[in-house]
Symmetry: C2
Subunit: 364 residues, 2 copies
């Protein structure tokens, strides 16, 4: 029913092996023969059987990119950048029709679910993926971390390149090729310092989901700065009143909105609100405004990530810029083996404060 390699071989009057060779372009074949084979392929509308091919070769050209939330540009930008390095797109001229020498990147949306993360890893393992890129913050559950480390270990052992992008190295390693970690802590610190320098002392914090590395690191940086300045909120999650200034929630606009309303209710004297990321910050802005307060005159608001829309917010959002495109591209290159891993396998990527107009000195 479906056309196979053998059919093409018959039609071209050569052996299956030869057809395979021209398709893979990794072996010398006479120009005339190749010509004939290619024509036969065309005439028969032949399509390589991926599973058969991968089975025989014991490899595949699939690269998986795991993201926590595909609807969030934070991940989309990294994934897109990685993918450009992996599946260039237009086959190089003269490339064999079988493969372009390139790999095929597919993105897998875990939705933040640990089960799904593992499920996708298993799928990729089954497919003998050439590489796997894990993006964004990791869950801090010890059990899950262990499962992940074990899985990655096995993946790596099977020859799959594993790279982390915007995610800190695993506690137990897991045999990862490279980890490109964002300096979330430093970014959080610098942002808080910026606010402190402006004169803020009562700063609300709408954190991300608990048990996420990203959440924790940003918050730690924030508290470090506050503590150093002796401002409210620096004492950590203990039992102090400080906990009242920090609320956790998902990385959504809505979370920012609701948490900010609550923060303002708890402490009407708040002069600034820092959000887990830009999306959350947008919600925070909406809440602040809805309370009849002006930004930044009455309340300063800041985000994190510097997503494209942040500069267009009104007022333009103060935030911390993460070089998502660069990081994604680099992860892609690492996955392709076209870039050497950083020394020690770990690179920290700087986070830059973008002071814009949503933050200003507090009202006197």
């Amino acid at each position: 029913m479906t056309v196979t390699l053998a059919d093409v071989a018959a039609r071209a009057g050569v052996s299956p092996a030869t057809v395979s060779r021209v398709l893979n372009g990794n072996y010398p074949v006479a120009a005339a023969t190749r010509e004939r084979v290619l024509r036969a392929v065309d005439e028969l509308d032949y399509v390589l059987n991926g599973p058969a091919s991968s089975l025989a070769a014991a490899t595949s050209d699939l690269v998986g990119i795991l993201v926590n939330d595909i609807a969030d540009p934070f991940f989309g930008i990294m994934a897109g950048a990685a993918q450009s390095e992996i599946g260039g797109g237009q086959d190089a001229p003269g490339a064999a029709p079988g493969r372009g020498g390139q790999k095929l990147a597919v993105v897998c949306n875990t939705g933040g679910s640990p089960e799904r993360e593992l499920t996708y890893l298993t799928l990729l393992q089954r497919q003998r993926a050439a590489a796997v890129i894990l993006t964004g913050g990791a869950l801090e559950d010890p059990e899950h971390s262990a499962a992940m480390a074990a899985k990655l270990e096995r993946l790596a052992a099977a020859g799959t390149r594993v790279v982390l992008c915007g995610r800190p190295p695993l506690p137990r390693g897991g045999d990862v090729l490279a980890a490109l970690a964002f300096d979330n802590r430093g970014g959080g610190r610098r942002l808080a310092e910026h606010l402190l320098a402006l004169g803020h002392r009562r700063i609300g914090y709408v954190a991300g989901p608990v048990e996420r590395t990203t959440t924790r690191h940003r918050l730690e940086g924030h508290r470090e700065a506050l503590r150093a300045a002796g401002a409210a909120g620096g004492e950590g999650g203990g039992g102090g009143a400080d906990g009242l200034l920090t609320l956790h929630g998902p990385y959504t606009r809505r979370s920012g909105y609701e948490a900010t309303l609550e923060l303002l209710r708890r402490d009407p004297g708040l002069t600034a609100v820092v959000a887990a990321n830009d999306t959350v910050a947008l919600g925070a802005c909406a809440a602040v405004r809805e309370q009849g307060l002006r930004i930044p005159q009455d309340v300063s608001v800041a985000g994190f990530d510097d997503l494209p829309f942040s500069v267009d917010a009104v007022p333009a959002l103060t935030t911390v810029r993460l070089p998502l495109t660069e990081a994604g591209a680099r992860a892609g290159r690492l996955a392709m083996g076209t870039e050497a891993p950083p020394p020690g396998g770990i690179a920290t990527i700087a986070a830059e404060l973008m002071a814009r107009s949503s933050t200003a000195p507090p009202r006197a």
Copy 2:
């Protein structure tokens, strides 16, 4: 080196066939035996060989979701929704470890490149994908359309379910299971009518990339309304002065910014700017403001899609809401075969005008 089915069988003291059966859970197996097999699988850390399995079974549980731009939430939202319907995530309790009965959704980023679109389709075809979902506007190049239709035809013939989501039916059909098309034309028309009703007569239009169905349909709706009202810009792209009020560009913030600047330069009397989508609209807003003009008092601005951030823009963006989540979910169900295709295979999805504060009557 790597653990195979046979190893598991040996360890469990059964035949490979039996192991396969418990893994696939599609065949009666004694509870005790299954138990033993499962334990062996666990102890050996066995992972099914995907290629081998797909080869033997001549099917795979892969579902591909093609998107034009993964960094754009427009696609992310649809893809995410589709994927939830496809790869539920947590396996149903009691499900066999081999497969959850569920399929695995992977998203493929074409970046708007026709070659890549075809490349991914070929990949999916090779993998014997269970289904393919194509999202967003299609390229209108006749040659590419033909190639696509042919490819989809073949995919469908091979048993792959093909569904279009937010994309109009192909000119030549291509044997698609179902097409969920957004009413872009109607949305464009209603948006223009809204502006006309407010009293606007000179309306600039920052369109999307040429040769995209989405671009064309939205623009056609817009012009229909203008023509009916005898306003400038309704005459179509001909040679008239109207063309001056329409500029094409990519779906980016920057395009909106630059095109709006140009539009304002060409016709300082413009009282409204309609953008191809919300992202472009954000850029347009920035440009308007930079010219020292107020929104909406001096110039009204409108977008399209109603992405989550639009309601938080300042002023809140008037736009046309597309039910991306619902459409994506429905596409996912169609791909899974858990929902019946619409009559005729085509469903038009309504686009709703969201009149907010970025549009108002023009200054007198």
